[in-house]
């Protein structure tokens, strides 16, 4: 049964009464919600076996549990799939410099665009039955990061997948670990923690050779000065910080200060976030390369970072997509340099076995000849790439028709197109997180499912990656 059929069956079984979506309800704060709940006005969850705050999982699932970390690479703007990882030669259009070669298990691969990655193909699993639901950048980018339709019931309060991971991984965090669990590099517009607490939000940073901004006391005069200042601050400000009369924002800020304090002058921070010119060069000497390099070092430091989001933008090539200075070729070089070095370093450090790498754009781009502007426009068919954490590489899952426009072979057990919700389930499963979990601490009290409709098995992980 396809997911579409499952939706339809669900609807027949349980007709939608068009209860207003959450956003159409009068706004209830979490506090007010629980106040009301406490006084028994609400009804639904009070009567239900579920109680607020309880976390339940309805389906007993077996997770892959093979990954400790995730690197999530967002190709912002949407990379053309048929010019890259689902390569189709379009006579008269495709530049000969793309130099496609037939690779066993993968098929045609544009070695001209990815001269380095062609040597990493044995690590990569390319899923070609991936299809987007939306063709609008902002919406689709949000969808990718929260693993659900942003316009759906819980879309507006849903946390970033990385925030869910941060929350789930918190019990494993050691007191000695000082890095943020969720790191977002070159991702200024990354979706935040949704309704989760601020400490699960992405820590947004731009990698720099000089390290993580403002984590050294050198400019202030060294650790002695810094410590002195720190105690003075607490002496003077604790009345406003500890059990603050100014309330939660001031206490949150104090917690952030404590976290920040642990990062200042910490050799682990310096080591993980600083890098040499030679290393940067090895990764292509680009912002993306530096993010890959930093990710690798951060994971090697084992300081509590478990989920890293990296954004590489510029793929929205409506015009002149084959321009040699401004089109696919130079941007693919950036990707090729950074990703191949990342895979190589993770491989040699042994971290690749415990780190799942996921890479995708918002959607794909139109197939066949170029548009009148020499570009490719938005298109639903796309690809997604997985590597690491035991994923069996050197192959493509699923197959598109000769144009690359539609799926001919789904390549997985659900026998339908692969979706962002499935990606989310795959990430959770890889990390050992039960993707069917439902939290009842959401502000609307309707139950926040990690993966929508997971209980009904509408979406699920791509176990074939490991098979």
């Amino acid at each position: 049964m396809t997911d579409k059929q499952k939706f339809e069956r669900l609807l027949t079984r349980c007709p939608v009464n068009h209860s207003p979506l959450f956003f159409e309800r009068p706004h209830l704060s979490r506090r007010r919600f629980f106040q009301i709940l406490g006084s028994g006005v609400s009804g639904y969850f009070v009567a239900a076996p579920l109680r607020a705050g309880e976390v339940v999982s309805r389906a007993g699932v077996t997770t892959q549990n093979k990954a400790k970390n995730v690197i999530f690479i967002l190709l912002s703007g949407a990379m053309s799939h048929i010019d890259t990882f689902d390569f189709k030669n379009v006579p008269g259009a495709t530049p000969s410099t793309f130099a496609p070669e037939n690779v066993t298990g993968i098929g045609l691969f544009p070695t001209g665009l990815f001269p380095k990655l062609k040597n990493n193909l044995s690590d990569l699993a390319i899923v070609r039955s991936m299809r987007a639901y939306a063709l609008v950048h902002g919406l689709a980018r949000t969808w990718m990061q929260i693993g659900r339709n942003p316009t759906s019931a819980l879309g507006a309060i849903a946390p970033n997948i990385g925030s869910v991971v941060a929350l789930e991984m918190e019990p494993q965090r050691l007191a000695t670990q000082v890095f943020p669990t969720f790191l977002a590099l070159n991702s200024g517009d990354a979706i935040g923690a949704g309704y989760f607490a601020a400490r699960y939000a992405p820590f947004k940073a731009e990698p720099a050779a000089t390290g993580l901004r403002n984590t050294s006391s050198t400019a202030a005069g060294g650790p002695g000065v810094f410590n002195d200042r720190w105690s003075l601050l607490h002496l003077l400000d604790d009345p406003l910080r500890v059990r603050s009369p100014l309330g939660k924002p001031a206490e949150d800020m104090d917690a952030f200060y404590a976290q920040a304090r642990a990062m200042v002058d910490n050799p682990a921070v310096a080591q993980a976030f600083m890098f040499s010119a030679a290393d940067s060069q090895r990764y292509g000497n680009t912002a993306f390369g530096n993010a890959c390099l930093t990710s690798q070092q951060v994971l090697a430091a084992n300081q509590g970072t478990r989920y890293i989001q990296i954004t590489l933008g510029g793929w929205d090539m409506h015009q002149d997509i084959y321009d040699a200075t401004d089109g696919l070729a130079p941007l693919c070089k950036t990707l090729d340099d950074g990703l191949s070095a990342l895979l190589g370093d993770l491989q040699s450090s042994g971290l690749l076995h415990e780190t799942l790498i996921v890479m995708q754009g918002e959607f794909g781009r139109t197939v066949g000849p170029l548009t009148g502007d020499g570009g490719r426009d938005h298109f639903l068919q796309q690809f997604i790439l997985f590597a690491g954490a035991g994923v069996k590489g050197g192959r493509a899952l699923g197959r598109t028709d000769p144009t690359g426009g539609f799926v001919e072979d789904y390549g997985w057990s659900r026998n339908r197109e692969f979706r962002l919700e499935d990606v989310q389930a795959t990430i959770y499963s890889a990390l050992g997180i039960d993707w069917t979990k439902i939290r009842t601490d959401d502000p609307f009290g309707r139950g926040f499912e990690y993966v929508p409709y997971a209980k009904d098995d509408v979406y699920g992980p791509l176990n074939e990656l490991w098979a």
Binding site: F7, L10, L11, R13, C14, V16, N17, H18, P20, L21, F23, E24, P26, S29, R30, A48, P49, Y133, A134, V136, H137, G138, L139, T142, N149, P150, T151, S152, G155, A156, I157, D189, A198, K204, E206, N214, A220, G221, V225, D228, R229, L232, D237, P239, L240, R241, S244, P245, L246, G247, P249, A250, M253, F256, Y257, R261, M263, V264, P452, D456
Partner: protein
């Protein structure tokens, strides 16, 4: 089981979008890029707003002996205060004590001009024993250039002025032109209805030369038919000038089965009616004109009526783009005439459509209500209707309450009406509105509260609600406190010394990687497009306040003209007072003074210097520096 059925029903809600499987027109800003606005909004606001407690009195600075609260009479007896205090009495809420002079001058200087007061301003105000010192201070602030800067920033946020959005490129030139338009409008204290008419009706050839053109340009939607742009422009006008963001929803679908429990007005409003509003834009053509020959950009924009493809009424002929298909129902005309839904009127003969829309909007009482509510929120952290773009037009009139189970929407409908009436009577004078607000007794209540505060009392404004300073306010207040200026050169604007003078919030004063940009960004100033300004706190904020060079150089004696360079020679006791007045705009408490003196007195002269620097650094990092209370 009944239960699991209920659960399935809940799961099924919201599936409609998924059922259509491939969503191609879902660009509703309520859920797309602007979703952050709704993420935890009630929670977040409540936490900040109801933050203070009875302990505040003990821990915030003491009432200084020389403080007078006698100046409070200025606001007594105003009708607005009468309404608000009556509501407190009726609900058994005891208001907080009046704010002290020190609290008042810091609060009102930040709220009106985005900076803390200078020490001369502070001391002369405190020394003044005249009965009108508070209104006089307010007049001085309203007349200051800093007032123009702060509110240029505010209206830049509201009107979405930026060089680039996800949809449109105004370029630095267009952004600067828009910035200058807003700024000069505020310098003249242009009536707000006039500003609205100029923005809604803006017509002209060159968006680089005519700033107001950049307002309609902001509604440009690519990748779809012209109607997507008309819809966006109408939705923007409704949200910004009427506070009714639901028009955006209604331009995709009828209100029925979508807005039923949220908007009494919206639940029966139809998409066809919303098209009537968008119809005012149907004859507006946005055209990109190459500014320089050859590729690439920049392009400027022209905004012309009855031009290009926009020469006919709003037509129902689309099946693609960013919103659901627009097709006539059987018997329905293929074109939709412009009709302002709240008056039923359209353009007069010979009147351009947008001129008509501007006339209708500014003649609508809701225009005034929305404007005063937006501004009120800036001073109190909480609008009478909140969020301030969620107005339900059918639940606003206190003389005409809605049927059960609906209730009037504003937390105080009479006060909102009174403010809106006064705003009209003042001929939409923004300064008069702000004068009325900050001179009110209710604005001048303390954030401290004796007794137990119930968070549900926030809406009565019975105590002042605290807020974290905005990015620009932190920057500019650090400049004031330290005396160490900042200078930036911005394209097309020359030298700028205050963050509040930046023409936009994204990539300013320089692009990604710039230290000041990163410092400001950590305070979540947003980008006026898909990232909204926020007053949350964060880990990078803490790192920056402790270690950023912007702070560090301002704590050093060696920095020329810095606070310590000027005051280190003072005796210890005087130095402590100087630091507190410059940074925290208040005297130290006895405990603080004792701790500071203890610190300064240890060791020799070099040690004293270092201790003074440490002390100053600690004050920059104090909670009551980066909050307005």
């Amino acid at each position: 089981m009944k239960n699991s059925t209920t659960r399935q029903c809940l799961l099924a809600i919201g599936m409609a979008a998924c059922l259509t499987a491939e969503v191609q027109h879902a660009d509703c800003t309520l859920f797309g890029p602007q979703r952050d606005r709704f993420v935890r909004v009630p929670d977040r606001d409540l936490q900040i707003l109801s933050a203070t407690s009875s302990e505040v009195a003990a821990t915030l600075p003491p009432l200084p002996p020389r403080s007078r609260s006698g100046a409070l009479q200025s606001g007594t007896g105003s009708e607005l205060d009468d309404i608000l205090f009556a509501a407190m009495r009726a609900n058994g809420v005891t208001p907080a004590e009046p704010a002290t002079d020190q609290e008042f001058i810091r609060r009102v200087t930040l709220d009106l001009t985005g900076r803390i007061p200078t020490v001369p301003e502070l001391t002369s105000f405190l020394a003044d024993s005249g009965p009108n010192k508070r209104p006089a201070l307010v007049e001085r602030l309203l007349a200051s250039p800093a007032w123009v800067d702060k509110w240029t920033m505010y209206f830049g946020d509201l009107f979405g002025n930026s060089a680039v959005t996800s949809q449109v490129r105004r370029a630095a030139d267009g952004r600067n032109a828009f910035y200058h338009y807003i700024k000069s409008s505020l310098q003249q204290n242009k009536p707000y209805d006039q500003m609205a008419r100029e923005l809604i009706g803006a017509t002209g050839q060159n968006s680089y030369e005519q700033g107001e053109l950049n307002f309609p340009v902001g509604g440009f939607m690519g990748g779809g038919p012209q109607q997507d742009t008309y819809d966006r422009q109408a939705a923007d006008a409704a949200q910004i000038f009427l506070g009714i963001a639901h028009v955006d929803c209604l331009l995709c679908h009828d209100g029925r089965r979508h807005l039923d429990s949220l908007s009494l007005w919206g639940k029966d409003f139809t998409r066809s009616q919303a098209w009537g509003l968008a119809g005012f834009y149907a004859r507006t053509q946005l055209t990109r004109v190459p500014a320089t020959p050859g590729r690439p950009n920049p392009y400027y924009w022209s905004v012309l009526n009855d031009f290009g493809r926009s020469r006919a009424d709003y037509t129902l002929n689309t099946t693609s783009g960013n919103r659901p298909e627009r097709l006539p129902r059987p018997g329905q005309s293929r074109t939709v005439a412009p009709v302002y839904p709240f008056s039923g009127r359209g353009p007069n003969p010979g009147e351009s459509y947008r001129t008509a829309l501007a006339r209708e909007i500014t003649a609508d009482f809701q225009f005034s209500r929305a404007a005063v509510n937006y501004v009120w929120k800036q001073f109190f952290g909480l609008g009478f209707v909140d969020p301030p773009d969620q107005f339900d037009p059918a639940r606003l009139d206190p003389n005409n309450p809605p049927p059960d189970p609906w209730t009037l929407q504003p937390s105080n409908p009479q006060a909102l009406r009174k403010l809106a009436q006064d705003f009209i009577a003042s001929r939409y004078d923004l300064q008069a509105l702000q004068r009325q607000i900050v001179n009110s007794r209710v604005y001048q209540l303390s954030a401290r509260y004796q007794g137990v505060w119930n968070p549900t009392w926030d809406k009565y404004y019975a105590r002042h609600l605290i807020r974290r300073l905005d990015a620009e306010e932190i920057h500019d207040s650090l400049v004031i406190a330290s005396g160490v200026s900042a200078t930036y050169t911005l394209p097309g604007l020359g030298q700028v010394n205050w963050a509040m003078q930046f023409p936009e919030t994204a990539n300013t004063p320089a692009g990604r990687g710039n230290a000041v940009t990163a410092f400001l960004d950590s305070f979540l100033r947003g980008n006026r497009d898909d990232v909204l300004r926020s007053r949350e706190t964060s880990l990078p904020q803490a790192l920056n306040l402790m270690n950023d060079n912007f702070i560090l150089i301002r704590a050093r004696v060696a920095t020329p003209n810095s606070l310590l360079a000027r005051s280190l020679g003072q005796p210890d006791d005087q130095l402590v007072t100087t630091l507190w007045l410059n940074v925290l705009s208040r005297d130290p408490t006895d405990a603080e003074r004792a701790a500071a003196l203890d610190k300064l007195r240890g060791g020799g002269s070099a040690q004293r210097t270092r201790n003074a620097e440490n002390l100053l650094w600690a004050l920059y990092n104090k909670t009551d520096f980066f909050f307005n209370y």
